[in-house]
Amino acid sequence: MNKTIKTSIIAALAATTFSTATFAQAPISKRERIFQVLDQSRPNEYVPAAFFLHFPDKLGHKAVADHVEFYEATGMDFVKVFYEIAVPQIEIKKASDWNKVPVYDEAFFEPQIQVIEDLAKRYHGEALILPTVYSPLALASQTIGHENAKNIKKLADQDPVAFGNAIKNLSLSIENYLRVARRRGADGFYVSSQGGDGNSLSPKVWNEQVRKWDKHVAEVANEIGEINILHICDYGTPFKNAEALYAFADYPASIINVPLNFSDGSQLDLKEAQKRFGRPIFGGLERLGTIATGSLDEAKAAVDKVLENAPANFILGADCTIPGDTDYDKLRAVIEYAHTWRQTHKK
């Protein structure tokens, strides 16, 4: 027999054996654990948990390595890929300058997509690959430059239509990112919504120019993703109260990641949140609370408190990104504690 044929046949057998072995080993995957949370006919016994922090390496193979290390070290339940690509800064001195913001095509996002693709190749069968998606407002902030971000509100008020155009183009850019990311291995997305807190933008600009394009991102994710998490971000600008938060109930998403504290001093009732959103809730811990600063015992006590009052369908996490220097071992211990909490704390 021709040597090449032999080689090919051996290769064929090797490949078949290899793939079969992979499937046979598969236990209940972390993917299915997350899907189980969606079954609102009953509480999820296994409480998945996930925390996020920014890594020193933003893109390239080192970023992939950081994600792998974090995922493996913490034992968290999905692979959340950080969004680290920034749109170019554009000089925006007067309000009409917002018209200069273009739509960025798929190629623009390639370095970010490569990180997603590499992680998807590694973890696809095991865990859901959920890349983060920034809001159009966050990209507007990148556009103007973070040092000038404080001017956004004022500039938007001066020419709401020009600002609306920028937001629209950025939203369409994000759509390009979502579609290519999905094709290259993302299962769904962790979609950040931003600007509807009543502080970052005036309610008029938010309602008339921004909201529909902010929501558009969630809609695209909903159309193409297997499962999506909506992160309602209040970074530095808390919502007035829970009712203001529930204004987002018409955004599509399978799971909602919620802020916890409101500017009127009240706190979110997580059970009520599942009821009002009609969906499982992700979160519960404060990003700068004991998960970041406390001892393991203090963090566990915080988990106890959260899970005692958690809604039936729940994933443990924080309200936003936790500090980058958080100890991985502590996170792992907290995540493992959450996984079995409902079995170990049966009344």
């Binding site: 090919s8 046949i9 899907f35 189980q36 006919s41």
Partner: protein, 453 residues
Amino acid sequence: MDGFAYNNSFFKCQGGRELSLIFYNYVETKIRCTIYMLLNIPCNCDCPSQDFGVPLHSLNRNNDRESSGRTFCPQRLTFTFNIARRSTQKYKHIINVLKERITTMNKTTFLASLAFAFSLAASAQSYNEYNKRELLLQVLDQSRPNDYVPVFFNVHFADKFGDGAVASHIKFYEETNVDFVNVKYEYIPSQKVEFKTADDFKKVKDIPVSELAAQLNVVTKLALTRKQGALILPTVYSPLAVLSQIAGGWEDKQKAKDLIELIRKNPQAAAPALDKVTKILVTYIREARKNGADGFYISSQGADVTRFAANGVFDKYIKPYDRQLSDVANEIAPINILHICEAGGKFNLKALESYKDYPGSIVNVPIHEFEGEGYSLKQLQDIFKRPILGGFTRTFIDSHSVEESKAVVDQILKDAPANFILGADDSVLPNSSDLSKLRAVVDYAHSWRQTHK
């Protein structure tokens, strides 16, 4: 450079004489599939050969991975296609296209490579089928309608146990392309009791677990071979049905009727007998779960108005046993379907109330078996707050043409609730059902929501 478009994908191909073929794939709802074709000309690349353990020829690994940050092969042959459920035909077509284009290749080498490609396609297929599990779990996401409509049908097979039964289940699953492996419940208790008076209920004995061995064996074998492809969901009969088997009611309908009448008159006396059959059914659920079942299709029975609903017998005496099965399944299994069985009776809206507090991730109600005004499928999702399974009557597909059945699928799916699995009132279709007909209906339903936007 030779390039042409295949559907939406761009197909680039460089001619050559010798080749090794590397099939690199991973799956979402679409499979992305890249064939790396390495020719015997120097290839300046860093292909992920280790992933398949395939020896590569003429590799020159001086590509700087550090700077590119990822694997990249400038001479790869790439195409993207939908390897949705009817993938084989499409796959063959693509291979044929490939065959035409690569004309300079040594023919035997190409054929050997094809064998390789097909073996990998087989693994791609099973990987894809693995996703039937997820496609089903996606139905649970009540924040939106499920785009892919899974289908749940089953039939009883001539072989009840042993390898014949396993083979029949696999044949049905493969040929119809349904989305679950439903394991038929075929065990019948060996003891027989003639129920004449209330005292006869005392004659029912505990059933030894050993009687379940053959039934469990079918679960185990199907789980071993098909668990990666689909959820393994055995059917479980109700305590009433099993008591009726003990009475010989399956062979003689009169005995079944007499038993029902006796229970209706002496519900308290029947309770210990129901308790004994419930115990063996609970054991079956627990053992099947240990042997690979992902969840259960639980047939609950008795609240229909023609039996026990009217005088409250069901809620007081039958339900405590009937519901136990759902409770246990709910406790130990990730996903369960609650089937509300009419078993020849009729429901009214009030009778259905008895089941509202039963656990179950998905609910299957016989909507064509209502007395008077019934519920629509959509109303049922609102009432049970869970995805609904159903739509067809049991016999429709078998007794009509594929086109007629498709028209019914149109009607059902037009008015279906957001979270929906296509099935029938009682998902057991006639045993003689033509599998190719079922296949046509199943495939039509799967993509209906994409094709009827």
